[in-house]
């Protein structure tokens, strides 16, 4: 028995020794939680600068990767231990839940004060994602709840050198031209298009680009509201485009099991002529191949009935914790962070599109090519209604099936419609 006692004492000593006491939460600094690994260094520099200016300490705490970060804020939200400023990763419906649970400060009064000085700094599309209109479907009080610190949008990029090599004079503007280019490239032994289509949201993005282009926003929203079916000929047309892509032989092999980082490797190393990618790629390509010569184009239009729309808007936004003792200070800090000077600093450091419109001058050429299509931007988070996740899964996976030759577009639209009807039934 003495031995047992001895071991237990040793054991508790070891534990006692390494157990640090729960330090009282410090109230003298603003704590920011975020997941933006590539920006942590720039943030730290900025917080030093802010402390020199105001004497207020700001701690940027990085929690990455994004999936784990969302789990962390979910757990912290339940225990009400969120930081003073935090980011929310997710769809608009998640944002709405955070707001309804009382975690988030409504920033509208701050944005509107002094004749809306703060608000006027931003691109309209940047604020749209975190703003809720009157009588919205989510039941959230009208207002703006987060401050965007940068923008992003998703377009097509093309490698100028490879296009020249294949004798293609200009980047394609129409779909037929694009398909023809892919075929030409294939004949020259150059891979045509790459994208991270294992990440199904990127398929969702391309599908809705062409849906807007072929049938227009109204009809897309109508379909989401179940007032028009997916079996409509316009939708069939959208999915047929992927059949054409497959049949052109221009898709890089493995495109449906590739994450976007892998797709970026291939494009950066000049192995593929086109990539469907977001504006963050400027930084990625710069890192892997600074000499890469590429231009940014809108996805080639498949119809002239409606304009091409691309996904975009706020890249990352910060929310202020409604339970924080420092919420006023936090708002002031966010104001400072979105000043022109700090925004220019962030652009230079991290090559993301600034959310402040005054910071736009002097950005790299490729980045400005992304920026100048801001009229065409849309995003599911800006639409009044969102499609059910199960339906999105059905058509994004379905597109993968089309690409590997398992399904036809016709089969796909029928299946999607079936799942849509089932989802509606489940919710009633």
């Amino acid at each position: 028995m003495r031995l047992l006692l001895g071991v237990f004492i040793a054991f508790t000593l070891i534990f006692g020794g390494c157990a640090s006491k729960d330090k009282a939460v410090k109230k003298d600094r603003i704590v920011v939680w975020h997941w933006m690994t590539d920006r942590q260094e720039a943030f730290e520099e900025l917080s030093k600068k802010y402390e020199d200016l105001t004497g207020i300490k700001v701690n940027f705490e990085l929690f990455s990767p994004p999936d784990s970060y969302s789990q962390k804020i979910l757990a912290a939200a339940q225990a009400k231990t969120l930081s003073d400023i935090f980011g929310v990763l997710g769809e608009k419906i998640d944002v709405a839940s955070f707001i309804k649970a009382g975690h988030v400060v409504d920033l509208t009064p701050y944005l509107e004060e002094n004749e809306a000085e703060w608000k006027s700094r931003f691109f309209t599309s940047a604020l749209a994602v975190t703003s809720f209109e009157k009588d919205n479907a989510f039941g959230v009080t009208e207002g703006t709840y987060a401050i965007p610190i940068d923008l992003m949008n998703i377009q097509m990029v093309c490698n100028n050198k490879l296009l020249r090599q294949a004798g293609i004079q200009r980047p394609p503007q129409a779909w037929e031209e694009f398909i023809a280019d892919l075929k030409t490239l294939k004949e020259k032994g150059i891979k045509g298009l790459v994208s991270g289509w294992a990440e199904t949201w990127m398929i969702d993005c391309m599908v809705s680009n062409y849906a807007f282009n072929i049938m227009g926003e109204d009809k897309v929203i109508k379909t989401i509201k179940a007032e028009a079916p997916y079996t409509d000929s316009d939708w069939l047309r959208v999915f047929k485009l992927f059949e054409e892509l497959r049949d052109s032989g221009g898709l890089a092999s493995g495109v449906v099991t590739m994450d976007n980082k892998y797709a970026e490797q291939l494009f950066a190393n000049e192995k593929v002529a086109f990539a469907f990618n977001g504006s963050w790629c400027v930084n990625v390509y710069q890192g892997m191949n600074p000499k890469l010569d590429y231009s940014v184009i809108l996805p080639p239009e498949a119809s002239d009935a409606y304009p091409m729309k691309i996904w975009g808007g706020a890249g990352s936004s910060f929310y202020v914790n409604a339970r924080s003792f420092l919420s006023k200070e936090a708002v002031e800090f966010l104001k400072w962070l979105t000043d022109k000077e700090q925004q220019v600093f962030l652009v230079n450091k991290t090559k993301n599109l600034p959310s402040n419109r005054q910071a736009l001058s002097g950005i790299p050429k490729e980045l400005s090519e992304f920026a100048d299509d801001s009229d065409s931007i849309t995003h599911p988070n800006m639409w009044p209604f969102q499609e059910y996740p199960a339906v999105i899964e059905a058509f994004t996976k379905g597109v993968q099936s089309i690409i590997i030759g398992e399904k036809t577009a016709q089969e796909l639209v029928e299946e999607v419609q079936r799942i849509k009807e089932k989802e509606i039934q489940r919710r009633n």
Partner: protein, 293 residues
């Protein structure tokens, strides 16, 4: 000592384990069980009671879930046969105390140590259809017609994943089997040799009977590790193409993170766990039967 006090002091042996287990497992378990009967998105302060609706939906109405089960089962079959057979061969070879045995022992344990990031990057490169090593090697030995995009071809994707899984997992089976072989008293072999048993006889008469509990252990751990494995698949295909390499844990994660259906994810997990528990109890029964036979 009286029998009662004796049994009570016996109980003290498991008490520390039981205390930690009750606080950190049983409490969350009941919470999860409770969640499985609610519709909840993970954030809302309130949740809606739905009874057994989620269970009904998973069992009768979730095709993707059951195909993910079948796919995990397929990978597990590979692991049970190919991986464990390989591990046993290697363990037997190393148990013979051959020269340079310790070098092999270290090398065989490298795959389990390596991070999924590295494994994913390397194997994606090997399997790639355009620039992959495998296709390159195949064309070098004149089998170029077999070349394909191994991970995106629906007929090969799952097997390709299963092989990487076996490659990463056999090191574990190897050291457990080796540990098992090493605890067989050497005199048993010596006695058998004296009785005139050859190598094969020694294997069937001494090794196998002594190893049955360890075989069962390895089988159960293989089932557990393979059915619950997902990090490798996320790193290699994210469950694609078109869901052909999805496994249950990926479905659970999707329900939770992508679809924000926490209650549903908990329900999927409970059903998944229940199936695994049933399988392992059956295995335990079978092994008891063998022991008595």
């Amino acid at each position: 000592m009286k029998k009662g006090t004796r049994e009570f002091t016996n109980f003290l042996f498991v008490l520390p384990a039981l205390i930690i287990f009750s606080v950190f497992y049983i409490y969350p378990f009941f919470k999860v069980f409770n969640l499985s009967m609610h519709s909840w998105n993970g954030i809302d302060p309130t949740m809606k009671f739905v009874g057994f609706a989620h269970f009904k939906e998973v069992i009768f109405d979730d095709k993707a879930w059951w195909s993910s089960m079948a796919q995990a089962g397929y990978i597990t079959l590979w692991a049970l046969t190919f991986q464990n057979f390989l591990a046993l061969l290697l363990a037997l070879a190393c148990d013979r105390a051959i020269r340079a045995g310790s070098v092999y022992r270290v090398i065989f344990f490298l795959p389990p140590i390596l991070s999924e990031i590295v494994v994913g990057l390397v194997w994606k490169w090997i399997y790639n259809g355009d620039f992959g090593l495998l296709n390159h090697w195949l064309s070098m030995v004149g089998l170029g017609y077999l070349a394909r995009d191994w991970l995106s071809d629906s007929s090969t994707a799952l097997t390709a994943i299963a092989l990487v899984h076996c490659w990463k997992g056999f090191g574990w089976a190897f050291i457990i089997l080796l540990a098992g072989l090493q605890t067989i008293p050497r005199q048993l072999y010596e006695a058998a040799t004296v009785d005139g048993a050859d190598a094969l006889k020694r294997f069937t008469n001494v090794t196998v009977p002594m190893m049955i509990p360890v075989f069962v252990l390895v089988v159960i751990l293989t089932i557990l590790g393979t059915m619950q494995g997902f990090a490798l698949i996320l790193a290699m295909t994210r469950g694609g193409p078109a869901g052909h390499t999805e496994v249950p844990v990926i479905r659970i994660l999707f329900s939770m993170i992508k679809y924000r259906r926490f209650g549903y994810a908990c329900c999927q997990a409970l059903i998944f766990g229940f199936i695994l528990v049933c399988i392992s109890f059956m295995l335990n029964r079978v092994s008891k039967f063998f022991k008595q036979a």
